[in-house]
Every structure is written in C-alpha cells, then in structure tokens.
C-alpha cells in the first residue's frame, strides 16, 4: 500500500487526526515509562518539559519568524507561579500548572507587543536583556521569591490506586508527558488553522500580508503570547520535576540552549521540537559518559563534555543545515524515490 493511500484512510479533520496521534504517543510513553528506571523516568520528564517549551519556541521562530532569547525567563515565570501556588497556597498540581500557563501568557502579552515592533538582531538583543534582567526581580523581592535560594516544593504524590511500588519519578514523568501532549495537540491544531496561515503569511511577506488585511503586529504579538504560554507550562513542569524554583535554574545559557534545541532539531516543525528535546536531554549525558571513559587530567576531563558539545553544535549545523528533522526528511524522500524508480523498472 503506498503512503498516499494510507494517508487517505486517516480521518479528514485535523482535530481528530491530531487527537489520534496524541493518544497513540501517550500510550507509547505510558508503556515506555514502565520500562525505565527512576533515573530514566526523570530524564523522560525533563525531555517532556523541554518539548513543551521548544514546541512553542519553534512555532514562534519557524512560523512567525521571530527570534527570542528570552524564553528561559518566561520559564522562570511559570516555575515561580507553580512554586508559589503549590508551596504557599497548597493548590493541586493541575490548577497550578494551568495558572502558570495563564500567568506567563499574560506576562508574554506586553513582551510580545514590544517584540512585534522589533526585527532580527534588535529583537534578539531586547529578549536577551529580558532573559538577563528578569531574574534580578527575584533578587529584589527576595521576601516573596526567596532570593538566591529560591522556593522549594514537595514532590507530587502518586495516587494510591497505582500501587505502593509506583515511583515518584514515574508519576512526574506522567505529569510532564501529559503537559507536553496538551502542547502538541493545541499547537498542531493552531498551526493548521487560519491563524497559523496568517503567521506564515506575516513571516514570508510582511507588507503583502498587511495589504491583504492581516494585522501584522497583532499576529506577531499573538504568536509570542502563545509561545510564552508554552514556556510557562514548561517552566511549571520544570519546577514540579526539580521540586525547586530558583534564579540559578534559569541562566542565559538555558535560553541559548533552547534556541540550540529548535535549530538543531529542525526549525518550524513539532517533530523537530521533539528531536531538539531529545538532544538537550541526551547530548550532555552522552558527552559526560564519553569524557569520563578516558583517563585524563582533571582540567581536561571536566571541560571535555563542553568541548564535545561545541563541536557537535558546529558539526550539526555544517552537516544538516535544516536540522535533524530536515535530515530525516531528506533521507525518507530519497528512500521513497529509490523505491518508486525500482517499481517503474
């Protein structure tokens, strides 16, 4: 059966199709989480909250054409909201995460409106200053935000019907994966909708889009707000998984590695965001293992993971300019062409 015929059997409606995929991925993740040990479950949870942030960021950069170096700070907003609501107010996990998403979206509105006036490196500079400047707020109001030490929260307890041997790590992985799946569902439907089309039009030809009656600034501000909401949810999940929200967890390097994730994964596609999340979680682990498999002097072995990371970034961009997803797409296209030419013979 050819790929086209298989595609025709799928449901027509985008919403049903994405729902089917979300359920499928959810079931796979559920099974996988039972196979993993506590440490790997935690890594899965890390990958899931990275995915939530990267998906929003890749939609912003790939679809709306805006670059943001400030998403680490937006994650901090979500994380602190969750820590304050759960730690001080005793909220349940789901409403706290919903509130984190909402609060970060509200913070994202003025940032997005300001960002819609800026282009390219000027936008990069402003969002960079945002990423560096916002953690200073936590320092200034240390009474509320706990200063350098931040706020710690108790880990979420798994419900009793899952059995006594059900680990906290696995429960955290479930929560984080559920959050990531919500982001996947919402963003998939959004990008296929009229709003997604408006964003692409604004990205490709700003003035032509304006002439067609699209409000360029408003569309860009909307895209920024949605991606801020995703970052808020991701940050809230991070606070749950790390059981902590502190300024040191959101350095500028976090924002830069988010950017690295979406570009190395493949800009503009949700699959690319998934690749990027995998890279962000697995690459540091692999470089660490690799570096410690040699016996080297302390200075060298403690810096080797960083060096490998740098070489991989440079190499990946030179070999796959359109990211891992672009490389996969090219490979699949090549395989399909090879097969169809064989069938003709």
């Amino acid at each position: 059966m050819s790929a086209l015929a298989a595609r025709a059997k799928l449901p027509r409606s985008t919403m049903l199709r994405s729902l089917a995929l979300v359920v499928l991925v959810g079931v796979v993740l559920l099974i996988v989480s039972y196979q993993l040990g506590p440490f790997d479950d935690l890594q899965l949870a890390n990958g899931a909250f990275y995915f939530a942030v990267l998906a929003g960021l890749t939609m912003l950069a790939g679809l709306s054409g805006q670059i943001s170096l400030g998403h680490g700070a937006l994650m901090a907003v979500g994380a602190y909201t969750v820590a304050l609501l759960i730690g001080n107010e005793g909220w349940a996990v789901v409403p706290a995460l919903a509130a984190a998403t909402l609060v970060t979206a509200i913070v994202g509105v003025p940032v997005g409106v300001a960002a819609s006036r800026l282009r390219g490196p000027y936008l990069a500079g402003a969002t960079l200053a945002f990423a560096v400047g916002l953690p200073a707020v936590a320092d200034k109001f240390s009474g509320t935000f706990g200063g350098e030490n931040g706020l710690s929260i108790n880990p979420p307890t798994p419900p009793s019907f899952l059995g006594a041997s059900f680990s906290i790590e696995q429960w955290e992985a479930w929560i984080a994966c559920a959050g990531a799946l919500v982001v996947l569902f919402v963003l998939w439907n959004l990008t296929q909708s009229g709003l997604g089309r408006s964003m692409r039009a604004v990205r490709d030809e700003e003035i032509a889009a304006a002439l067609c009656g699209l409000r360029v600034g408003r569309t860009q501000a909307f895209a920024f707000t949605v991606s801020a909401a995703c970052a808020g949810l991701g940050g809230g999940l991070l606070a749950l998984v790390l059981q902590l929200a502190q300024p040191g967890a959101f350095p500028l390097q976090l924002s830069l590695s988010l950017l690295t994730g979406i570009v190395v994964g493949g800009l503009g596609s949700l699959a690319g965001a998934a690749w990027g999340a995998a890279v962000l979680v697995l690459l540091p682990r692999w470089t660490n293992d690799l570096a410690h498999s040699f016996s080297l002097s302390n200075n060298v072995s403690s810096n080797l993971p960083l060096a490998i990371y740098g070489v991989v970034l440079i190499g990946a961009m030179l070999v796959w300019p359109s990211g891992i997803q672009g490389g996969v797409r090219a490979l699949v296209g090549w395989a399909l062409r090879a097969r169809s030419s064989r069938e003709k013979d």
Binding site: A61, I67, A114, R117, L118, R119, G120, P121, Y122, A124, G125, A126, L128, A129, F130, V132, G133, L134, P135, A136, V137, D139, K140, E205, E206, I207, A208, L211, L252, L256, L259, T260, V263, V264, L267, N299, V300, S302, N303, L304, P305, L306, A307, Y309, G310, V311, V312, L313, I314, A316, M317, L318, P321
Partner: protein
C-alpha cells in the same frame, strides 16, 4: 556631588570598554550580517594568551601586541573555517555555530588554563587621581583605557572612510554582487572584517581584564552589555556603537552606584526597551524602505 562625579568618570571608562566590544560586534554585523555570540569567548581566549605572555616575559606591551595579533588570526580562522559555510544559510544557523564556537573556546581555555579565575596586571596605576585633597574614582589606567579606545575607533573610521581596503570592505558588505563584478574579492573582505572585529574585541579583553578576574566565563557579562550597547546605537553604525557603549556605561554606573549592582541587568533591560520602542533600529539607524 563627589559621588556623582565619581560615577560619571567610572561610567566613562567602563563605557569605553563596552564601546570596544560593541564595535567588534558592529564590524561583524556590517560585514556578514551575523551577530557574533562567540565574541565573548574569543576575547577571553586572546586575553588568556596575553596573560601567559606577560607572565613569562614580564612585558605588558608585548602581551598586548600578542593578544591583538592572536585576535587577528583567531577572527580570520573562525570566519574562514566555520562561519563561511553558514553565511548563506538561514540566520539562526550562524547563531548556533557561533554558540558552538563559544562553547568550544570556553572548554579549551578551561583545559589549558584551568577554571579558577586569576588576576591580570593593569598597564598603569589603579590608584585614582587626587584633586584638591579628594581621590577620584578615575585612575591613570582609566585614562589609558579611554585614550586607547578613542584611538581604535578613530583608526577604524579612517580605515573605512579613507583607504581603498575600507572602500572595498564597505562595497562587499552593502552590494556583494556588484562588488564582485567590479573585482572585489568579497569572501576575502568578510575574512578581513572578522579579523578586524576580533582585534577590537581582544583589545577590549586586555583593557577590562584588570577590573574583572580572568577566567573562562568571566567575560560573559561584558559581552551581554556590549551587545546591548551595539543594539542601542544601531548595529549598522560604528559611531552608534561608541555612543551606545558610553550611554550603557554611564547609565549602569549610576544605577549600580545609587541603587545597588543587583539591579544592573534590569536597568540594561529598561534602557534598551525604552530606546528601542522609540527607535526600533537603534539610535543611529538610517530610515530604510521596506520592499515587498
């Protein structure tokens, strides 16, 4: 009043260093439309080389010259080897490659010189001048910094406006196709632009090193404020970089003097947003037509 004068003088000398960093970013942006996030690591690396030379020979001047020369080579090599392939790729790819270069240089510096920060000698005395019995927060070394940066900025302005190399570089940056037809070797001009920018950066590194400690990550804040300064002035304008650098230096000096240094990053954000909301292309931006 003395405090205000002190903060102003301090702002001018730190502003001069931000201006040098901003200049190095502007030069690369003009030549290749890339924001060089690796600049902070590049100037860290050349400053480490200077430190090694000064420690073994005892000569500050020799160390400074070696730093500038190694900056020249490093800039040219980075452009030619890793940046050239991504110059025609989507803009974010160049950003990621620059981050890769940054990470690699920080790691290599850590491997060679270790991660413990060390001190770096100043060219002149760090004791402030004495005027009418009060000691100012401005030392002979600060005058050296300001003068060297002014000289570097003037030298670059002369190079771009008065020499044939400068004309070719400007042509390659603004009209690569036409310049190529007229016989300018555009790729070579890009390499020269990166090399010059790295020299400006390594100058900033040696100048700032005495007041911060020298370690693999200790120059990151300088690069961040330098980038803010470049954006303030407008990335296409070298005079804008100098003005942006001084503006950032003064503003941040007042904030840290009167309100405490923890507010400096927030103040940089407020300053940048305030300027960009009025002039989205920086202070010295030329009004540009947009085409469909």
């Amino acid at each position: 009043m003395t405090k205000f004068i002190d903060l102003t003088l301090n702002g001018i000398s730190t502003g001069a260093i931000y201006a040098a960093v901003a200049l190095s970013l502007v030069l690369i942006w003009r030549a290749t439309r890339i924001v060089n996030f690796a600049q902070g690591a590049m100037l860290m690396f050349t400053t480490f080389i200077a430190s090694a030379v000064i420690n073994s020979t005892g000569s500050y001047v020799l160390g400074l010259l070696v730093a500038l020369a190694s900056g020249l080579v490093l800039g040219a090599v980075v452009e030619r080897v890793v940046m050239r392939p991504v110059e025609s790729a989507p803009p974010l790819n160049a950003v990621i490659v620059a981050l890769g270069v940054y990470t690699l240089l920080v790691a290599v510096a850590g491997m060679i010189w270790g991660n413990t920060p060390r001190s770096f000698p100043a060219a002149f005395s760090l004791r402030g001048y004495e005027v009418g019995g009060t000691r100012l927060l401005f030392s002979p070394n600060d005058s050296f910094i300001v003068l060297v940066v002014i000289a570097a900025a003037l030298g670059l302005a002369l190079l771009f406006q008065r020499t044939s190399l400068g004309l070719r570089m400007r042509a390659a940056a603004f009209q690569p196709e036409v310049a190529r037809m007229l016989g300018v070797r555009v790729g070579q001009m890009f390499t020269v632009g990166w090399a010059l920018a790295a020299v400006a950066g390594s100058l900033a590194g040696v100048l700032v090193a005495p007041s911060v400690f020298l370690g693999p990550n200790d120059f990151d804040p300088i690069l961040i404020i330098g980038f803010v300064a470049a954006v303030l002035g407008g990335l296409d304008s070298p005079p804008g970089a100098v003005v942006g650098g001084l503006l950032a230096g003064l503003a941040l000096s007042y904030v840290s003097g009167y309100e405490g240094s923890s507010l400096v990053p927030l103040a940089a954000l407020v300053l940048l947003v305030a300027v960009l909301m009025v002039r989205p292309g920086g202070l010295f931006s030329a009004s540009k037509e947009r085409r469909v």
